[in-house]
């Protein structure tokens, strides 16, 4: 009886695989283009069903053989092709499915394919393919798009290279922070008279509660706070939220976001409000000037948007560089990795943050000030705080 049952089980397993086309969505292997039985036309399951089960040791051996090699292949399939065409198709397909700003940037991705695909051929070198793919991705005009291989990393930095930097690190370091600035976690802080100046160079540097407590303690008694996020390429939005939470006294909607969910141009999740939730504990209620530039990007760009909705805060400097979409990371069949934006964020009034956050007070670094070691934008902020 037991042999009969086992035989049936095995037959059933064979049936599942052999008849996958009839089982529709029930077939767990349907996404496996490389799925095949270990011996096409003569599946191992058939062989197994003929085993004389009077010999359980042979059953065991067969089960192990079956499971150790065949199952992994059957379930997971093999790796995809790595020909330039396959790589091109994988990249184009994934961007087509998940990239979030085709419409906003008026990009005809099909046209891009039509333009670039004929240039791909299986005889091209890796570098040639890399260059071609990088060029294709460049059309997305997105600072969150990169292609990385062992020999290169493509990028689109037009979002700040076409604009004045409005930031001179030497001036900030030598004339404002000086030798005795306070290094509090990722923050560099210095009292400029009755105003606390804080430089935060990257939102990738984690902000802890203890850092914020120390910073806010330092800000006690000051007339205002200057948070300088110029030349800040972003990082984690969580850090931005933590800082903003210290400046809010009530929950504030600073943006709305949605996620790309499919290949359709309008296949997104529902818009979801993005909130600043006031911090429990020490907060700062004074004036806050947030300094931005075109190289304020991604999470820094988001922080700038937060500052826009904080009642006591203004933005001073230049429009931010954008980067409102959260990037996804992925890997091509040939091992190269890439990333691109897969979400959208808009201000409460509907402006896409991808294109930067406007400032409340425009200010630029004047060449003469720069020569004199003066940061025009900081000075403008000091003026606003003290004003």
């Amino acid at each position: 009886m037991n042999r009969r049952i086992l035989h049936k089980v095995i037959r059933l397993r064979w049936d599942i695989i052999d008849r996958q086309q009839f089982l529709g969505y029930l077939n767990p292997f349907r996404h496996m283009p490389s799925l095949r039985c270990p011996q096409p036309g003569k599946p191992v399951f058939v062989a197994l069903s003929r085993v004389n089960f009077r010999l359980p040791a042979s059953t065991l051996a067969l089960l192990i053989l079956l499971l150790s090699g065949a199952c992994e292949k059957a379930v997971l399939g093999g790796d995809p092709d790595t020909t330039p065409t396959a790589v091109f198709d994988a990249l184009w397909e994934d961007v087509n499915n998940r990239y979030s700003y085709f419409e906003e940037k008026s990009i005809d991705w099909d046209a891009v394919r039509a333009a670039y695909h004929p240039l791909v051929h299986n005889g091209m070198s890796d570098r040639e393919l890399f260059g071609l793919l990088a060029e294709m991705l460049f059309t997305l005009e997105d600072g969150h798009v990169n292609l990385t291989s062992a020999f290169g990393r493509s990028r689109n930095w037009e979002w700040f290279l076409d604009y004045p930097p409005n930031f001179n690190a030497n001036i900030v370091e030598r004339h404002y922070l000086g030798r005795d600035f306070h290094q509090i976690g990722p923050f560099r802080a210095q009292r400029l008279g009755d105003v606390l100046y804080v430089y935060y160079g990257s939102f990738a540097n984690t902000v802890e509660d203890t850092h914020l407590d120390a910073l806010l303690a330092l800000a006690d008694g000051s007339k205002g706070l200057i948070i300088d996020i110029r030349d800040n390429g972003g990082g984690s939005e969580q850090n931005a939220k933590r800082i903003a939470a210290c400046l809010a006294s009530e929950p504030l909607v600073y943006a709305r976001s949605r996620i790309k969910t499919g290949p359709g141009r309008e296949e997104f999740s529902e818009w979801e409000d993005q909130l600043i939730t006031p911090r429990q504990g020490r907060r700062y209620a004074g004036k806050v000037a947030v300094l931005t530039s075109r190289s304020t990007f991604s999470a820094a760009n988001t922080f700038a948007q937060m500052a826009r909705v904080l009642p006591g805060a203004i933005l001073i400097g230049d429009r931010t560089g954008g980067g409102g979409g959260t990037p996804v990371y992925a890997e091509l069949p040939n091992g190269w990795t890439y990333r691109f934006s897969a979400t959208q964020s808009v201000s409460p009034s509907g402006e896409h943050l991808e294109f930067g956050v406007p400032v409340d007070i425009e200010a630029a670094l004047a060449p003469e000030d720069e020569q004199a070691g003066v940061d025009t934008i900081i000075e403008r902020a000091l003026e606003w705080v003290r004003g």
């Binding site: 009886m1 037991n2 049952i5 086992l6 089980v9 969505y25 029930l26 767990p28 996404h31 009077r54 359980p56 040791a57 059953t59 065991l60 089960l63 192990i64 499971l67 150790s68 199952c71 992994e72 379930v75 997971l76 399939g77 093999g78 790796d79 995809p80 994988a90 998940r98 990385t148 984690s236 939220k241 976001s257 996620i259 790309k260 969910t261 999740s269 979801e272 409000d273 993005q274 909130l275 939730t277 959260t326 990037p327 996804v328 990371y329 992925a330 890997e331 069949p333 040939n334 091992g335 990795t337 990333r339 897969a342 979400t343």
Partner: protein, 1040 residues
Amino acid sequence: MKKCCLPPLLILWFATLLSGADLIRILPVTDNILQLHFDEGHLDYQGMGEDRYSGIRSYYRLLDIKKAMALSSYSLTSPDDPSYRSPRHPVALGRKSKGAEFNNLYDENEPKYLSDHFIYLELPSPMVSGNTYTVQVGELADNLNAFTFVFDEQKLRSETVHVNQHGFSPKARKYAYLSHWMGDFDNGKHTAGGLQLEAYAALKFHLIDQSTGAVVFSGPINKRKDKTRRESAIDEYGPNGNYTNADVWQCDFSAFSKPGEYVVSVERIGCSYTFEIREDIYREAYAVASHALFCQRAGIEKEVEPGWVFERDYHPDNGRQKFYYDASFVTSKHKIDSFRFEQEVDGIWGWYHDAGDWDHYPHHVRVPATLLHLYDMRAEYFRDGDVSNRYKNDPETDWINEGENGLPDLLDEAGWLVCFLRRARHALMDQGLGTGGVPGYVGREGGFESLPSWMDTRDVAVTGENPASTFDYAGLAARYARCLQRFRGIGGAVRSETIAGWIAEAKQAYAWAEQHGGDEASRSYAAAALYLATEEKAWQDTFREVYEAVNMPGWYGASMREFANLLYAVIPAGHPGLDEAFQKQVRRDLTVEFTPSLIDYSEKERGYRWSSPAQKQANILGSFSAPRTLWAATAHHFTGEQKYLDAVRSAADYFLGGNEMNMVWMTGFGEHSEPYVFHLNSWYSRDYNSRADISAIHSLFSTVQPRSAYIQSVFLGLFPQTSAPLPRFIARDKPKISMKRAITYPKGKHPAEATPPGQARIDKKCRLRYGSDTNVRARSIIYLFLLCLALPLSGKAQEAPGHKNRALHIAAGLLHFAERDEAYSSLLYSGALPSVMIGYGVEGAKKSEQVWAGLSAGNVENRFGARAGITTAGIFNYTLYHAEQEPSRGFHLGWSNNNLLSIRDFEDAANFSPRFDYHTSFGPAARYRYTFAGAFSGLSLEAVGHFQLIGFFLQSGYVSDAPDGTLGGNGSGFGELLRSASLFYPGKAWNWGLWPSLHYTLRSGTTLGFAYRYDMAILEGAHRSSSSRGYYLLTLTAKL
């Protein structure tokens, strides 16, 4: 065990040098009736070298019966009971008597026997609890004139209260019985000696904790059976076949289970002997009873107690006797008058002594057949060192300790006779005397010159090859091989060749017996055992053929037919080729055959519960023959029904003191156990001067009183070596009944008026015709031993799901891990990760459960060398259902739950990592288990499969490392979790696995193994992630 609560003053043992009818005990029957026990004296039987006719020295004074039966001989006074301020005589009395010491029947000047007399006095008014009373007997007793006691029901034992004196398992039913037969006492209310308790019906019984004196449980007493109820088809056993001649009431304290030491006290009556309640209550009894079997072994020098050694007997190297073989003398009996002592034979030794004799009978195969059956049912309960018998094959060699040989001592005992039969078979063949069969009868019947067996110089008869015995041997050899298979291989005590050798023996013996026309019952047993051991279906066909073709009687006879059917009934499910429908039929036939008699009637209808055939249970001189516990334990094994377990336990209760005699029929247990086990070597070697030695009541044989009287007195009357006529009371027609009438009172004109069978037991200081009493006694020991074994076993089986075997599993090895997270890459990441798992398993009677937790961590790579750190952990559990406890083979179904987490940190994915998958799901599970036999015994194969059907899962998002539901970032953690969770169901998610493993079980019960565990999972949320896990594990399983 803590000793009795009896007031020491009530137990009046005196050194009786010249005294006669001593008053040795006064006990209450109720508050209104007293029992006075008079002992007429003592015989000092002949010692070594003394003549049996002149060697007896008697010390006695007979009770003056006339005076003893006069009311005026007794009076009762009390200083604190107003009713007895002045002496008062009893208002009625009665008597019962039994012979206790048996003299030289041919000495006309001596009494033929001395008796114990029990006088019952009905008091003019009941005694009052707590008051002091004095019984005055005047000159009636030789040792005293008066005796004073306090009537305290919680401390003063009453012969009316009967209880298992050894103890009860906490979960067992627990009864004490109230009953007493008082001989010829008859006052119109208590008629024909039967105590009538209707006036006490409203009273309660109490359980008294002996450590604190506190009442811990109380309950009513209830009438169970009337004395007119038939308990046997044999009229001579009592009025209408009633065993007791008195009503039986009961005290039910089954609801009380707290371990401790207690007595049952009944208001206005008295209390019981002490007893215990505790787990594993029968373990000591098992060890002692098993040792009793060891002491029956012939052909070795054996240590019966530390410092007390029985010399080697009946061995060719002893030089005391010659061994002769008569091929033409095919018999199973001792009657060998025409045996030709001509052809010498060598190499035949090592059988079992018969009960009272020292010879081998074919029916002794019941001993190994029973032991092997028990072991096969519950091997896990028997260990090496349980008994630790020590012996020498040769007096010049070192001691062999069976407790250190790697085999359970039970199997050592079971193998003893099997080895003897093999030895005998090969001895005959090697010497050209035999053609492949085993001899039937071997030895010489009876004792020899009042000497122990090792001094017997009579030549030994080895009778011709016996086909039935050879079939029996074939079956035993096969089943022995089956049992040994557990100890084969690395670290085991048995070599593969040994097992193969036994199976070859079994087949050869079977072929010989079949060729020579062995009987069908034995053939049936051999075929069933060979099927069990070899898994060859043809043997099953043979068994079935016999089963269906032969309508043979013998279900009640402990025949090999019964053993065959019991064996077949317990063959585990999944045994290759097992005809399960036929096995069901056999099981059904067994229950249909036995249940009405042993359960419905015997258990339910008797006053004292115990299982024996309703119509055919032998009772010889008060000794009921073996209870049928083996069948009941077996029935419980394959049905799991409580009633069978209850039957086994109630039989144990009966033989351990809950009987008419208030006597434990196993020496050394309880407060009142059988002191006269009939074991001649003990008698002959313990005290050559015949002095009673009652000082060392601590083990089976230390209480045996040496009685060289065995060969003389009544025994001589039966087998006279003189021309003297048989004593009159030894009638040949109904010797047992006649004997009972001869030495007991009241005799009565009809057996119904004589001593009821439940109280017919006498001191076994003499040997009666047929040897049945001693034989029964020995068999009782054997079967009580089996009983003791069966009880814990059956308890285990029954108490599922209460009882479970628990095991800890540890596994370590490598995980071949492969994963594809299509939100990140179409490339496969794979690699080997170190992996550990720990599991906990519970195997109950009907289901097996295991829970496993595992953790693996390390790096995997894609084909281009990009790495990802992987941590994967899981908790997997499954429950499987099966028809029997710990099935060794079969296909079992159940359900499973899997909880699997995988975290991967892609080195090139920045804050897109770490990514994870998690799912919790449920689905069906199945297991195929195959335990190897034969040359591969000890090995087992198991494959567990599961297929997950329903649950939920979480995974990193399509565009983030966090689940998609958390990306809003504004909800509560739990809310975001709910939003992120997806339903797990086929089509949306998949998870199945198959875990084949190969195990080898060491003798210690620890299991080592290799396992390959494969699991695959596919989750399709916003993206698809799939993983494949192949674990190569070494496993260690330890029983808890």
